[in-house]
């Protein structure tokens, strides 16, 4: 009947209209005629199902009668009937996809309610599909997920039946929580979160009472096993072979934590309590925290077969926990256990409930320990739901195992009984052993303290009886933390084995493998919002009551920890230290956190002296790398900018599985530089630079001083594009700039002290506007072999711009009026570049306390010329200056760029040195004698012609022209003025040291006056902190303290 009507209808209006009620009627007819699936009608059925989905969506948006018909004919029941036959994946998949499309696209709320109103959807949910077929599985779980996205306060009642305590959508889905397919697991997690966030009390009560314990205990066990796998991966992969696998496991663990955090962040109090309980009692404490202190526990009770992970892994995982989870009751309790609990929490059953107590005084009957759930989630759920549907009788608990019973079980006694009889006896033995061993190794003093501790822990038992009402705030919890504040510091660490092992891990003598994660953990603990401040003040932050008279300055911070930290810093500054840069950076950050409050440092003098000593050490290491080679300056500036631009992100650090493997030195692993040890001379130099910069920075922070010497380029004094400049009296060279694309413009070239500027004249006479500005140090100049009037100039981006791809700022051909001007320009550029670099090298030398020769004494051009020629001839003769003298003397500013080959240290003799060994002594002598007189140090062969040219120019006044580069004779005085005018004030002091140098011209004596001044300045340093020269002075302090 329908068929003929629809055929008639279709024939009448449109030959084929798939979107009409009539078409649906036709499809209904097909379905009702093909209720049995067979080989022959499969294709037809699938096609029909697809069409139904399409029509229904069309109907939902256009014609409500379509939906009415669908419901009236109860067409969903056909779906069920088809499903119940073993119809194969082909039909099943289409069926599920049709349902997916239906629920995904329906906009009309009433349509949705109608679809859900009869229980068909729930019947489909509980249908046992062939889940071994991955396609069916994927469509099925997507269907559930789609449904979960439709959940809200109204629709929840179609899925959750309060009276029968039935919630198939949720209970069926969570059975796949550990499915091998990651996408399925993600869908399950999405679904659970979508369920939890529906605010429906009775549903949430059902979730908590009937499903939370089974689900969470299984989930926690699943996570724990991932952790064991991760540990095995780390253990068996010292050679970095299965990095991918490890990376996955680490990422997986992060996923778990983020999932747990997402649940906890929904803020469903009851659910969070169950979850927190399980996490603490079944995973975090018995596996993670237990493994921190495993060595001792194992030695004292060899029988103990409890699973564990290596302490490195445990530190790493705990860092992740504290970086991600912020649920206060969870992290605060965990922090307390790590900071204050003793080994007894693992020892016997009577203390087991300590963990329970710690959790905000709420009771739990979960038996602590990392143990597998007694049965699979599916069975637990069945039992739990079965029981509930039958009756709420008392025997229900008998069926439920300890770990699956609800947290608020009505039979705590029953669980206690079963939980402790078998386990308890065994553990008791372990505990006794523990005690005897402990007693053997401790001093009387410690014994006393142990008693004290036991007394303190006595009252712990009390709240257990009154747990119901002790909803105390975490900070007031029944813990060992006394309200007096820094008492924890006074307690010997042996009573706090967990934090003790964290501190012990900070030992970097062999390597910094574990230390890095111990630092991560401490840092994460300190930064976690959920951990109460009371727990951390005095441990990871300065004590908060500085005004209390009874608290001497001594106890303002965690002394033992700071000592460990200072030791790491000191060690890092050793030349061959096995401390990675990332470790040092984190150490420094932690130190400032522990000893500083509101930018005020509480660091004691002894510790401060140690830091200063470390800085001194680091600068002396760096002095060995201070080279004339160009790359040194570039490296120095690059390291500085990287340090400033990319501060360490600890969360990202703990996402990197590479750091979980033992530290390595080779870059072949692909591990970035900061996270491994240096390899080769260049990397060692980079490391030395970075260590110096970081420790210097720390020293400034601790000294509450501001940075004055870095960055080397003071950008505030630089000319910027569009600045209008007074160019009267400056050297201007007119030129045409031809770009790569052929465009050409006329500009004037101005060469400043550190910058090259292309200006365009303005209307005001003698003034110009800067069109392009580049740093002289970044230019490359080459001549043109075909045209003597041309130069090819490339200006690179400054390192400080932080652009990784260094696209040149400008790369162009400069055409000058004639070849003389061209030569002049070239010379100025080349020399300007050398000078700009030299100037910075001098700045670095100052930072490193390398004596900077300032040839202030004589300034006769003739003399300079003469000396320069002498030197030049010496160089031409192929004689190399062997660095046989004390190293310090090698670092003369004059022997900077361009003279790389001329300078060698004794330990790396150049080939020519070896061949001309007889000459060597002579040269050394001559160089020493030259050294004795400061005069010949100034000039350089390159300068000669330049100065000749420059001589005719006049001196330049104080304005911009003062900075014009080719400052002629008298060289030295002008250099000095330009220094004072352009450098930061801290350098002014150098004038005086330079003076003293000139007063006592011989090198050894010239060095000592500087030292004296340092030492004298130290004495007044505290009072006058503005007494400049940030870095250098401190040295004296360390030596005298």
């Amino acid at each position: 009947m329908f068929r003929s009507r629809s055929w008639f209808g279709v024939g009448l209006w449109k030959p084929k209209n798939p979107h009409s009620l009539d078409h649906l009627k036709y499809l209904y007819n097909v379905l009702s005629k093909n209720q049995t699936v067979s080989e022959s009608n499969r294709g037809l059925l699938v096609e029909t199902l697809r069409s139904i989905a399409e029509i229904l969506i069309w109907g939902d948006q256009n014609d409500s009668s379509v939906f009415d018909f669908f419901l009236e004919k109860n067409m969903l029941s056909f779906f069920l009937k088809i499903m119940k036959q073993k119809c194969g994946s082909y039909v099943c998949v289409q069926l599920l996809q049709t349902l997916n499309i239906l629920f995904e696209n329906i906009r009309n709320e009433t349509s949705l309610y109608y679809l859900l109103s009869n229980n068909h959807v729930n019947s489909i949910i509980v249908h046992k599909f062939d889940f071994s077929d991955e396609e069916v599985m994927a469509y099925y779980i997507s269907f559930l997920k789609t449904l979960s996205l439709k959940l809200n306060g109204h629709t929840i009642h179609f899925f959750y039946n309060e009276h029968t305590n039935d919630f198939p959508l949720y209970t069926e889905a969570i059975k796949f929580f550990n499915h091998s397919e990651s996408m399925v697991r993600i869908a399950v997690r999405t679904l659970t979160l979508n369920v939890y966030r529906v605010e429906d009390r009775s549903m949430l009560r059902f979730i908590r009472d009937r499903t939370a314990a089974p689900y969470f205990s299984n989930l926690v066990w699943f996570i724990g096993n991932h952790v064991l796998e991760l540990d095995a991966c780390v253990r068996n992969d010292a050679d970095h072979q299965s990095k991918n696998r490890l990376a996955d496991l680490v990422a997986e663990h992060l996923d778990h934590l983020h999932y747990l955090n997402d649940i906890l962040c929904l803020g469903i109090a009851d659910l969070n309590q169950v979850l927190t309980d399980h996490l603490l009692n079944k995973l975090l404490v018995p596996l993670y925290v237990f493994s921190l202190d495993r060595q001792k526990t194992r030695s004292s009770s060899p029988k103990n077969s409890q699973p564990y992970v290596s302490s490195v892994v445990s530190l790493f995982l705990l860092s992740q926990v504290f970086l991600i989870l912020t649920h206060a009751p969870l992290v605060d309790t965990l922090a307390k256990i790590i900071l204050h609990a003793d080994r007894l929490i693992f020892s016997n059953s009577s203390t087991q409930d300590k963990i329970v107590l710690l959790q905000q005084g709420k009771a739990s009957v979960i038996q602590p320990g990392f143990l597998p759930p007694t049965e699979s989630l599916e069975i637990s759920l069945e039992i739990s739901l079965d029981v509930s549907s039958r009756s709420m009788s008392a025997d229900s608990a008998e069926l439920a195992s300890p770990c699956t019973s609800e947290p608020r079980s009505r039979q705590p006694s029953l669980d206690d009984g079963t939980g402790t009889t078998d386990k308890g006896s065994e553990e008791k033995v372990d505990h006794d052993k523990d005690n005897t061993e402990a007693n053997l190794n401790i001093t009387d003093e410690e014994k006393h303290l142990l008693k004290v501790l036991e007394c303190q822990s006595g009252p712990l038992a009390c709240p257990s009886s009154t747990c119901g009402d002790s909803n105390a705030a975490p900070s007031e919890g029944p813990l060992l933390l006394s309200p007096e504040g820094p008492v924890p510091l006074a307690q010997p660490l042996s009573n706090q084995p967990f934090i003790e092992s964290v501190y012990n891990a900070l030992n970097c003598q062999e390597n910094d493998y574990a230390a890095l994660f111990a630092l991560c953990l401490l840092y994460a603990l300190g930064k976690n919002k959920g951990v109460s401040g009371a727990l951390l003040h005095g441990v990871l932050y300065p004590c908060q009551r500085p005004d209390t008279p009874c608290t001497p300055l001594l106890n303002r911070y965690n002394l033992s920890l700071v000592e460990k930290i200072v030791a790491i810093i000191t060690l890092s500054c050793q030349p061959s230290a096995k401390v990675r840069l990332v470790t040092l950076e984190l150490t420094i950050r932690l130190l400032t956190q522990i000893v500083m409050n509101a930018n005020v440092s509480f660091l004691q003098d002894g510790h401060l002296a140690a830091i200063e000593g470390a800085k001194e050490e680091s600068s002396s290491v760096l002095r060995n790398f201070y080279k004339s080679e160009e790359i040194f300056l570039d490296m120095f500036e690059d390291e500085y900018h990287q340090m400033k631009k990319k501060p360490l992100n600890v969360e990202w650090l703990t996402m990197d599985s590479n750091v979980l493997l033992p530290p390595t030195g080779t870059p072949l692993t692909g591990i970035e530089f900061g996270k491994r040890l240096p390899c080769g001379e260049v990397e060692r130099a980079r490391r030395a630079i970075r260590v110096f910069l970081m420790v210097r920075d720390l020293s400034l922070v601790l000294g509450m001083e501001s940075e004055r010497a870095l960055p080397l380029t003071d950008s505030s004094t630089c000319v910027q594009v569009d600045h209008v400049l007074n160019l009267n009296n400056s050297d201007l060279i007119g030129c045409n700039v031809v770009l790569k694309d052929g465009s050409r413009m006329h500009r004037f070239l101005v060469i400043d002290v550190i910058q090259l500027i292309l200006v365009e004249p303005t209307r005001r006479l003698g003034y110009g506007v800067a069109k392009l500005v580049g740093f002289l140090q970044d230019i490359e100049v080459t001549g043109d072999k075909d045209d003597s009037r041309c130069l090819h100039i490339t200006i690179h981006q400054p390192l400080s711009s932080g652009i990784s791809k260094r696209v040149p700022l400008l790369s162009a051909k400069f055409i000058f009026d004639d070849h003389i001007r061209c030569m002049a320009a070239r010379q100025r550029l080349t020399k300007g570049r050398a000078k700009a670099r030299q100037k910075k090298m001098v700045q670095i030398a100052r930072l490193l306390d390398i004596p900077v020769p300032q040839s202030t004494a004589s300034s006769s051009a003739a003399f300079n010329l003469h000396a320069a020629r002498r030197q030049e001839s010496a160089l031409r003769g192929g004689i190399r200056i062997a660095g046989g003298r004390e190293q310090r003397q090698v670092y003369n500013a004059q022997k900077l760029p361009g003279h790389a080959a001329a300078l060698r240290r004794e330990n790396t003799p150049s080939p020519s040195n070896a061949s001309k060994s007889p000459d060597r002594t002579r040269v050394r002598d001559s160089s020493r004698s030259r050294e004795a007189s400061p005069k010949p140090m100034r000039p350089r062969s390159e300068e000669i012609p330049l100065e000749d040219i420059a001589k005719v120019k006049d001196q330049g006044s104080v304005s911009f022209k003062d900075n014009s580069p080719l400052l002629p004779v008298p060289m030295t005085s002008s250099i000095l003025t330009s220094n004072t005018s352009t450098l930061s004030p801290s350098h002014v002091s150098l004038q005086s040291s330079a003076m003293s140098e000139s007063a006592g011209p011989s090198t050894p004596s010239s060095h000592s006056p500087a030292k004296v001044s340092e030492e004298t300045s130290f004495t007044s340093r505290a009072s006058s902190q503005n007494s400049n020269s940030g870095g250098q002075r401190r040295r004296g302090q360390v030596e005298t303290v």
Partner: protein, 212 residues
């Protein structure tokens, strides 16, 4: 149905850019909405052929799950390819690409192939984002780019298949570790190295009934 490889894709982008429509259009071609019907789906699978090999694509839409950090994280990690979709008629969906891309780069494995898709190319009259802009963005970030229309099905096949080709090439080059399923790539049953000559038919029957 048996396959040589299974690639998992995710589709990301702002809401309303037509992600689920693209997905449905690709996996079930019959929904060519001549009539004005927007219809989408969150999951779909389809078999394609590349280089004579059967490759199954599984596409997961991540819509509606942005509220949970753990979910987006996990999705990214489990995928071998991602379609990053914006709507050419809504400038803001284009502006948000950077955020999406950062997210993707942060959470996904480094080899994930990302294709940028400017959807709704049929609505030329309402275009707000020029094709050149999409191209430039893709070029800058090393993505493949295409403009598609889920409505007219223009370029939809190509978008999914080109992404698959890229992944396939990476497998051939050995960039992807195919033994690691966490990468979003699965090796099909007949590709098991132990018995490559095994006829897939036997397994086929067992799994998927009447696929013929």
């Amino acid at each position: 149905m048996s396959y040589a490889y299974l690639f998992k894709y995710i589709i990301i982008g702002d809401t309303g850019v037509g992600k689920s429509c693209l997905l449905l259009q690709f996996t079930d071609k019959r929904f060519q909405p001549v009539h004005d019907l927007t219809i989408g789906v969150e999951f779909g699978a389809r078999m394609i052929t590349i280089d004579g090999k059967q490759i199954k694509l599984q596409i997961w839409d991540t819509a509606g799950q942005e509220a949970f950090r753990s979910i987006t994280r996990s999705y990214y990690r489990g995928a071998a390819g991602a379609l990053l979709v914006y709507d050419i008629t809504r400038r803001e969906t284009f502006n948000h690409l950077t955020t999406w891309l950062e997210d993707a780069r942060q959470h996904s494995n480094s080899n994930m192939v990302i294709m940028l898709i400017g959807n709704k190319s049929d609505l030329e009259s309402r275009r707000e984002v020029k094709k050149e802009e999409g191209e430039a963005f893709a070029h800058e970030h090393g993505l493949i780019f295409m403009e598609t229309s889920a409505k007219t099905a223009a370029n939809v096949e190509e978008a999914f298949i080109n992404t698959a080709k890229e992944i396939y090439e990476k497998i051939q080059e050995g960039v992807f570790d195919i033994n690691n399923e966490a990468n979003g790539i699965k090796v099909g049953p007949q590709h098991s190295p132990t018995n490559p000559s095994l006829s897939p038919n036997g397994q086929d029957r067992g799994q998927g009934g009447g696929c013929c």
